[in-house]
Symmetry: D2
């Protein structure tokens, strides 16, 4: 089994630039997180985009869809901003025969107290144990993108019927 990780930007990869007094999406963090955790899986990281998910366009989503469809791997993680993660997940629903897990974080991976490393651990196991389909791994749970939303006020995901 080979795990493919696509990175698209989002808070998980954000860095603070004092020069501009603002954050920006920086280098993808997923690869170094997996290396520090001494993951023994065969995995490969590929950066597709460096977008804040609020800025993601239909064209960006076509790019992600094409990358996931055309790669030979059956077990896929996508790191993504949380604000429009469900939109991207929904667009990937047509892909058959692949376990696709989207994850991200509410705090940049470079923060002391980020949820990024934990969420990547969740995603790595989800990508190996869940059936084909599109899943979201965040807040210690697996969410079905068709039946969940980000609760922006509470800064966490929840089931639609919650």
């Amino acid at each position: 089994m080979k795990l493919k990780i696509f990175t698209t930007g989002g808070t998980i990869d954000k860095i603070y630039f004092d020069k501009k007094s603002q954050y920006e999406v920086g280098d993808p963090q997923a690869g170094s997180v997996l290396e520090r955790a001494n993951v023994v899986l065969d995995f490969e990281v590929e950066s597709i985009l460096r977008q804040d998910s609020l800025d993601m366009t239909a064209e960006d989503r076509r790019l992600i869809l094409k990358a996931v469809e055309s790669c030979p791997e059956k077990h896929i993680i996508i790191t993504h901003g949380t604000d429009t993660m469900i939109d991207t997940a929904t667009g990937l629903g047509k892909i058959a025969g692949k376990t696709i897990v989207l994850t991200g974080s509410m705090y940049p991976a470079r923060f002391h107290e980020s949820d990024a490393v934990f969420n990547l651990g969740c995603a790595v196991i989800a990508a190996q144990t869940l059936p084909p389909g599109v899943h979201i791994a965040i807040n210690g749970r697996i969410f079905d993108p068709k039946h969940s939303r980000k609760n922006v006020e509470m800064n966490r995901f929840e089931d639609l019927d919650a």
Copy 2:
């Protein structure tokens, strides 16, 4: 679903005591790791032991077995030292109807570059997605305790036939 987490000590909980110039098992880290990751599951942490796993006795293992058997929860994580994790896992094999996931870390959770947070993310998803039985979540994979070992030299787990 309610997740029960038993802590037993091991490297994951180690703290350095300058006064004695040595590491010792400190307060269990699992609860605060899950809180920082903003886990929305219902979970409960219970400390059973504070042992380096090399010092774990048959009596210690009976204590763990009893705790796991008698708790009402069906989804269980045990944080444990890695050196004898497989011994403890083997002893739990007789318990039916519960998904039991052992995890731990090669570096203390209090280290900057520890595998502890990632491994707990792995274990939290494994405890929810795997079938009943005893599993080990470490190095980004799920290991079957009957067919794996810790490679002490390489400081990682591997399949017995590897």
Copy 3:
């Protein structure tokens, strides 16, 4: 000797709010940094402002001046955004008989790889060892606010004649 620490905001105290997809000035970090370093000095932290230093007004600077002038302590640290730290320092030049040290950081204290903790260590010793006057402690050096500037491009302070 008692050390007084005034906090005014700046990058050192910034936190990331995923909800708004931006950084904002959060709780002052200086006190908890000194506690974690097990500082045995008598010190007191007082929050005056929570400003990004680019947004600091003349009225804000009058507030800082008044606080530093009127406090009984002779050894003072001010944590401050780096962009206009020299402006604030210049305005404090008229205060006699007090050692005033301004510090801050280029990365938020909550980042893994921040300069905040190091800079606070620098400032704590500078406030005890330097003569009365206004000093800036950053980048491992003491700068005289009358003869230095922030090199925004290089993201560090330098002497005016550099």
Copy 4:
């Protein structure tokens, strides 16, 4: 001004080896701490020893003395285990015309909540602002090795007459 940093081991450089279930002195941390803090001083790090300070011998101290005496720099930091830091400092008392600052930490630099980075900030300023002589920078203060001791029970330094 050029700053010379000699590293000799001690808790500041300790790393945990799961393979042996114990800590050991690892690579010197001072250089990377100063780099992360974006220090603009001219500085050079040289590793003399990798000793737990409880294991330091008379021969080890002769080595340190010789290195400090013979180097051309006038501003010197020595990172050192805290347990016998005062013994080493006392032996350096005969060196004239150099500002020598010893520092170390109660927790390894690799810990999230270590005092190492803060103490190095303290030492870097102390080495530039203090008069020639031997000084200890720890717990946010400057201690005179002739009139101080480590309070092992409290895990901090104090004045002899405290």
